[in-house]
Amino acid sequence: MPTSGSRSRRIQGVALLLGAALLGAAEAASGVRLRERCASRQPLRTPFFGDTHVHTAFSQDASTQGTRNTPRDAYAFARGEPLGIQPYAEGGRALRTLRLERPLDFAVVTDHAEQLGEVAICTTPGAPGHGSLVCRLYRAWPRLAFFVMNMRATYWEEPTRFDFCGPDGVHCLEAARGPWQEIQAAAEAHYDRSSACSFTTFVGYEWTGATGSKNLHRNVVFSGDAVPELPASYFEASSPEALWDRLERDCIDGLPGCDAVVIPHNSNLSGGLMFESGDVGRAEAERRARLEPLVEVMQHKGDSECRLDPVGEDELCAFEKLPYDDFQGKYVPWLADEPGAGSFVRDGLARGLLAERRGGGNPFRFGLLASSDTHLAAPGYVDERQHPGHGGAGSPADTELPEGLPDDLEFNPGGLAVLWAEENSRESLFAAMQRREAYGTSGTRLVVRFFGGWELDPALCEGGDLVATGYAEGVPMGGVLPAGTGGAPRFALRALRDPGGEATPGTPLQRLQIVKGWVEGDATRERVYDVAGDPENGADVDLATCTPRGAGFDTLCRVWQDPDFDPSAPAFYYARVLENPTCRWSAHLCLRAGVDCEQPETVGAGFEPCCAEEHRRTIQERAWTSPIWYSP
């Protein structure tokens, strides 16, 4: 007669066998790999911090400036492991080491699809094309190759591959399979499928389309491990529309278990093309809004929130602005144009409303997030106090550390993407991306909630359960208000300061703002409302030590009702959260180098930008929530 213990073991054994069989059957049926249910699940959602824009040595513009770290290295770094970066000494020892004091919750490696194969060929002896002039240039003069290869890949309207790629680019396409497989394997190896749900990865890539250097770049993020055989690059899909077509054909409609979101970025470098026209027809508008639910509002190469208008009312648009509107303007200054309308997210959101008013649907219904665009394979390394230079288009450090500042003055460490999700899993985070329940930060880890509704209790901040009520009686950031019941909508907004890490304390909050855009006749209007905090709190920075001075707020909260509401006018509302001022990355480094602009002898080689007229020594770190839309 079996004992209860042996019976129990037998039952466990049967359960294990059954479980294993079910897992296998489920995988065979769906083609999708499974995971355990997360031990920690918050129905009211948690803010997960991550980086959706990360380049590694697989990207041509990273490898040509000395980056040797791979997608696996990038994910390990995001989880808190140390990362050696260029320059390297004899014997391959990295001369700099980075480590995140606070690891990320998720990350997406997004290497450029355009030259995955080209880089593989140029580093594989014997490969057809390895001995080509371009590949020899790549190995001998990587910085020159950076320009030559980028021009070829992303400058022309109908780009063609180098001759060494063979007819129809077949050599390069074939060579891209290896890195593409490794990108997938790295994402799989670092995705925590256990119930601990400690870290999430997504398979992704960057589509690097541009016309005449006007940036239409987009990151593609896949929902799971079912992904196309090869990423569709600008060579195969030479317009955003062609990219969406390919994703529909090769993923969403054509591959079971595959879904994708597309995230445009650096509209500030698009020369006005990113949000050129919203009038695309209702069906196309709906397709775009479905495929592109998010836009990157800020990253290493500048802020894309709003245009800096010297006579405008929103002076806070003067944040990490680039002085040119495309890459041609960076390298050929006399061709540089001032960034204009159509290059900024706020313009895009407004043009979307206008298209909606004209009856064509809104193709620019974007949620907001930010990311780093690191080219060091260092996701989330965005603290102003320790900026190493993120490479790419910035200052390279391939063979030796450049003297002075490690990055071009106009660039910055980049930002973070935050997703409100029930748990840290691919399904939950991807759903948050699709419903736009996201916000971006300029690097801080402040926490912000934003709900809109018609009947929200004005006293929610004084003790009501803001979050539960917000979900029950309204919509969260990224949502669309349901039909109104009369009166103006209310918005509940609460922000908590970044608590900081042990070595990197957070900064108090200064104020909350709500940015509204709406349609008036045939024009769009915008207004910024200060809704909580104190813009005149007197906080500043002691530039002699980079020490912040003055009080701020740990928490700010407000239920705000639109005083200018017009029920006939489509509108969007998003929140902007501002911290007290702190030193910019460049000011930290100038201070550490002992630069005193009054004493020219203290300005060492490479530190001349410290004393440039355009050097902004302080910044106000911030967050931007996804909008909430009103659609009459």
Binding site: A20, S40, R45, P125, V467
Partner: protein, 309 residues
């Protein structure tokens, strides 16, 4: 059946199957040419910026030999005859050699002719395609059969530290907001701590609402996300069952009583099964490849690079 035995049998089965398809090697034994080794070394220098050391040179040579073996094996399986991309590419190469325009001639005939000329062996794109196809076939084969419960259990036991969960605490918490109370928060916290420790009924309701959604249990990361690392560390170190002294966070002061502490550490299999399975299948794929390559080496009378054999 042990994992190792299963892999050995899988490798043997693949090998036997292969011998039936291609009973005896008639081609010369594979070898790595000096030119190939030079190319491998040059590739290493190009990507790593330095010369490979002795161990790395050996590894490069091993990889080159494996590559040659896999290529031959793919050819033995006939992949070069059936793969559509190889057919297209070889036909195109032959057209190019003859100066014929794209699309000219019958592709199947050109493909057969190119194979007869041995063009598949000299084209790196074709070689890579064939090797990759074989590797994908090996990897796919290694994912079947579905791992048994015993295999999962053994793999989990052997690598338990790969799947860990953090420690968690279940809390009672009374929060005194610095935002709402300003400088009075500290004094209020100390006064309230005494009332809580004295067991005063209703004292737990005298705090302020937390400005975020409370969890049923908290790991360090959950607390640190809103309230900071130092506060999270302090809470995780509290004894069970006692009200703490006021603890400072980025939001104010907290009086905390840990009701339950759940130790972290390796996860039981039931809560890591999917992760264990993926890890096991990946290991099985690597091991199947290794076993398969060893069988190929034995078949060709080859040892490891540098071995006298």
């Amino acid at each position: 059946m042990s994992f190792g035995l299963r892999i050995a049998l899988l490798g043997a089965a693949l090998f036997v199957l292969d011998r039936q398809l291609d009973p005896a090697p008639t081609a010369p034994a594979p070898r790595v040419s000096a030119a190939r080794l030079d190319a491998e070394r040059a590739g290493f220098v190009a990507t790593r910026g330095r010369e490979p050391d002795a161990a790395e040179r050996r590894a490069l040579a091993e990889r080159a030999l494996d590559d040659e073996l896999l290529f031959r094996e793919a050819v033995a399986r006939g992949y070069h005859r059936t793969d559509p991309l190889v057919r297209r590419r070889l036909a195109r190469n032959l057209r190019f050699l003859r100066g014929a325009p794209d699309g000219a001639g019958d592709e199947a005939a050109l493909h057969r002719e190119a194979l007869a000329l041995g063009m598949h062996a000299s084209d790196l794109v074709v070689r890579r395609r064939l090797v990759q196809k074989l590797e994908l076939a090996l990897a796919a084969a290694a994912r079947r059969p579905e791992p048994s419960a015993a295999e999962l259990s053994a793999h989990h036991a052997a690598h338990a530290t790969r799947w860990e969960e953090p420690g968690r605490v279940v809390l009672d918490q009374v929060f005194l907001s610095r935002t709402l109370r300003g400088g009075a928060a500290a004094a209020a916290a100390h006064a309230l701590a005494a009332r809580l420790r004295g067991g005063e009924p209703g004292a737990e309701a005298l705090g302020d609402p937390l400005p975020f959604a409370a969890a049923t249990s908290w790991a360090h990361a959950d607390l640190a996300r809103y309230l900071g690392d130092a506060f999270a560390s302090a809470v995780l170190a509290l004894p069970v069952g006692e009200w703490s002294a006021p603890l400072v966070s980025s939001q104010g002061l907290h009086l905390v009583r840990v009701r339950e502490r759940r130790a972290g550490g390796p996860l039981p299999l039931a809560r890591a099964r999917s992760a264990v399975r993926e890890d096991l299948l990946a290991a099985r794929g690597r091991e199947a490849r290794r076993v398969f390559l060893e069988a190929l080496r034995r078949r060709h009378g080859l040892g490891r690079v540098g071995d006298p054999s």
